[in-house]
């Protein structure tokens, strides 16, 4: 009998199922009314429906809140209507972009594309002719070389900001931020002006890597800095208390502890540059044949492959080819991105 006097926990502030159903009903009613409006008035098309649906539904909810509660609650409902609208407007392009690439791209996918290059095929040939092996190899090599250049520099910058914390930490942080805003085409022009025109006179994959490094360094530096900041100070103190020098503490304790974070930084850096087009158009040339040597001769890349098929083609075949390449590129990006999410979601070791 005692049990019944203990009240069960209540959550009176939570939205009840009844209220949720009411709101859902109003939204449905809004959709119906919007459909009627499109049929009967001058509003037409998807845009007309979307606009009238949003206006009618949020008005209905506004009136209901006003009737049930007061003006403040009604105004509050307007904010949630607009916030929901905004998130839907953000999601539409994401879904549309992914759907477009998948729908248009799968026609351009065939097994031979991973074993052939474009030396014997033109972009307007049937999609089964030729392939993107050269582009894949070029992208992997250029990104790899760019990573070899960027990772040490990015890590050192991050270590300066988190471990040394010198007088220049503030300005350096600012400069890294500024560097991440450098337009990609300027990175290409810079490599042209400092190396290609005065020194090498040749467009090569290595030049592409250098231009990509400029874009990659700030991403790696910023992510690595964030990851190193997550390492508890106790670990550093423990290292120093054991008599280790700062060098031994950083190399033996801090960096190993941040390992998965640093891998995340690398992955995000790769995702940042793998689809970069503008600098490669300026400095790495564009080849249709396999080239395993970054130091000489133009080098193809996935973005260049897509770019060429899209802009110089014009036939359905060329478009399919471009979208097929885009699908491969997008799969790479999504994989890299999911991997980064997975790694950074895990607890710091």
């Amino acid at each position: 009998m005692m049990q019944s006097t203990i009240p069960t926990p209540q959550t009176p502030w939570a939205t009840s199922i009844q209220q949720r159903l009411n709101t859902a009903g109003l939204i449905l009613l809004g959709a119906v009314l919007a459909g009627v409006a499109v049929k009967t008035t001058g509003l037409s098309g998807k845009l007309g429906f979307a606009v009238s649906f949003f206006v009618i539904a949020s008005l209905l909810i506004f009136i209901q809140q006003l009737r049930l509660r007061d003006l403040a609650a009604a105004k509050d409902s307007l904010l949630s209507s607009f916030a929901s609208l905004a998130i839907i407007l953000t999601l539409i392009p994401i879904i549309s972009i992914v759907a477009t690439v998948v729908v248009k791209g799968y026609k351009g996918i065939h097994f031979g594309m991973f074993t052939n290059d474009m030396t014997m095929a033109s972009v307007n040939d049937p999609v089964t002719a030729g392939g993107l092996l050269h582009a894949l190899v070029g992208t992997i090599m250029m990104v790899g070389v760019a990573l070899l250049i960027s990772f040490p520099i990015g890590l050192l910058t991050a270590l300066y900001l988190t471990e040394i914390r010198g007088n220049l930490a503030r300005p350096i942080k600012f400069l890294v931020q500024a560097m991440s805003g450098v337009p990609s085409i300027v990175a290409g022009l810079f490599i042209l002006s400092i190396l290609i025109i005065p020194v090498t006179q040749e467009l090569t994959g290595l030049m592409g890597s250098l231009a990509l490094s400029i874009l990659m360094i700030p991403t790696i530096a910023r992510t690595a800095e964030e990851m190193l900041r997550l390492i508890p100070n106790e670990l550093r103190e423990a290292g120093v208390a054991l008599g280790a020098t700062q060098w031994r503490t950083v190399s033996g304790v801090v960096v190993p502890a941040a390992r998965s974070g640093l891998v995340t930084a690398v992955i995000l850096g790769i995702a940042r540059i793998i689809g970069e087009t503008a600098p490669l158009l300026l400095v790495s040339g564009g080849a249709d044949a396999l080239n395993f040597n970054p130091a000489s001769g133009p080098m193809g890349s996935l973005p260049y492959y897509i770019w060429k098929a899209f802009l110089t083609g014009g036939t359905e075949e060329a478009y399919s080819r471009a979208w097929g390449g885009m699908l491969i590129l997008l799969i790479f990006i999504v994989l890299l991105f999911s991997l980064a999410r997975y790694l950074s979601g895990r607890k710091v070791a």
């Binding site: 509050d76 953000t90 400069l175 337009p183 022009l189 031994r248």
Partner: protein, 330 residues
């Protein structure tokens, strides 16, 4: 007795202690500091070398490089370079125009999305939405450009016609000829979609840092979400959000491939956002680079320098705003 002897032996001799790092640490600190300077060095080199290459053009053109609107290379009968006029004004106008459209369209959506993610979404839905929006930021600009060209163009052309029909009396929505495709308006839409994830991420970070006690104090006083956001979140995060918007502006100004693909790059000053002609500095560089002779390359370097300095200034302002108002900037 033996105990006493042992004790006196255990007392260590007094010694100096020093805070001077050891040799290995000195080397370590020197190497890391050098590496840390790399961003300074690279930015310095970019400014230096673009200036060196662009110097000749800038010396000849002086201020008319940014005020005049003519980009011409005249060659003689044998195709040799004879004279040239380089003025960037039309492309500067185009750069600002498309970037500002992107900010006007994109920032409100991004800020409201950030509000939704911070104060409405919960649990798994919130995680999923954040992942999706961050993924949007990782899409290559090439993809935005092609999607804009193939998919968005039709819808955006229709919106442009509507705007022109009902708001055509406002000069900027007027058009000299009924050409609505490949206009700055559509380029601005694509840029807006590109900056939404960036601005959303920064706004969300700033909203997340709103002190919880103030939020709860507002709720305790009976505030609705709207009232709480207006009284607490907006005053706290305003500067940071403006900084995020500036960052988006900087990105939109420097975008090359997406603008080149979507916009009909024509060298003329075009204020009429719905008319299908325009360009920005970055797309001009890409367009002219292919067939440019050495003199024109120098002019393009100078154009790159102008673009670099512009984005640097915009980014600097945004960085100051974000760091002053949000405690921990990105």
């Amino acid at each position: 007795m033996t105990l006493l002897e042992n004790q006196s032996a255990a007392i260590p001799a007094p010694r100096e202690i020093t805070t001077k790092p050891r040799r290995s640490d000195q080397i370590f600190r020197a190497v890391v500091t050098l590496g840390g300077m790399s961003s300074l060095v690279i930015l310095g080199l970019i400014a230096l070398f673009l200036s060196i290459k662009g110097f000749n053009v800038l010396r000849v053109e002086q201020f008319s490089f940014i005020t005049e609107s003519k980009w011409e290379v005249i060659t003689d009968a044998e195709g040799r370079f004879s004279e040239s006029t380089f003025g960037l004004a039309a492309m500067l106008v185009g750069t600002f125009l498309s970037a500002i459209i992107a900010v006007i369209v994109g920032v409100p959506i991004a800020v409201l999305s950030a509000l939704y993610l911070t104060f409405y979404a919960k649990g798994a839905v919130k995680k999923l939405l954040i992942s999706l929006i961050d993924l949007l930021a990782a899409f290559p600009s090439l993809l935005f450009g092609f999607w804009g060209f193939i998919v968005l163009m039709d819808s955006a052309e229709y919106w442009a016609k509507l705007l022109n029909k009902y708001l055509g009396f406002i000069p900027i929505f007027d058009v000299p000829a009924p050409v609505f495709t490949r206009s700055p308006f559509i380029a601005g839409m694509v840029l807006a979609i590109m900056i939404i994830p960036i601005v959303t991420a920064i706004s969300r970070e700033i909203f997340d840092q709103t002190p919880l006690d103030r939020i709860q104090a507002a709720y305790a006083l009976g505030a609705s979400k709207l009232a709480m956001i207006r009284a607490v979140v907006i005053p706290y995060g305003r500067g940071g959000v403006v900084g995020g918007a500036m960052l988006g502006l900087g990105r939109a100004m420097g975008e090359t491939v997406a603008v080149y693909t979507v916009l009909n790059v024509v060298y003329q000053i075009n204020w009429q956002v719905l008319f299908g002609a325009g360009g920005n500095v970055a797309s001009l560089i890409l367009l002219k680079f292919g067939e440019a002779g050495p003199e024109e390359i120098d002019a393009l370097m100078a154009a790159g320098l102008v673009l670099f300095l512009l984005t640097l200034v915009v980014n600097a302002i945004s960085d100051v705003l974000i760091n002053t108002f949000g405690k921990k900037g990105r």
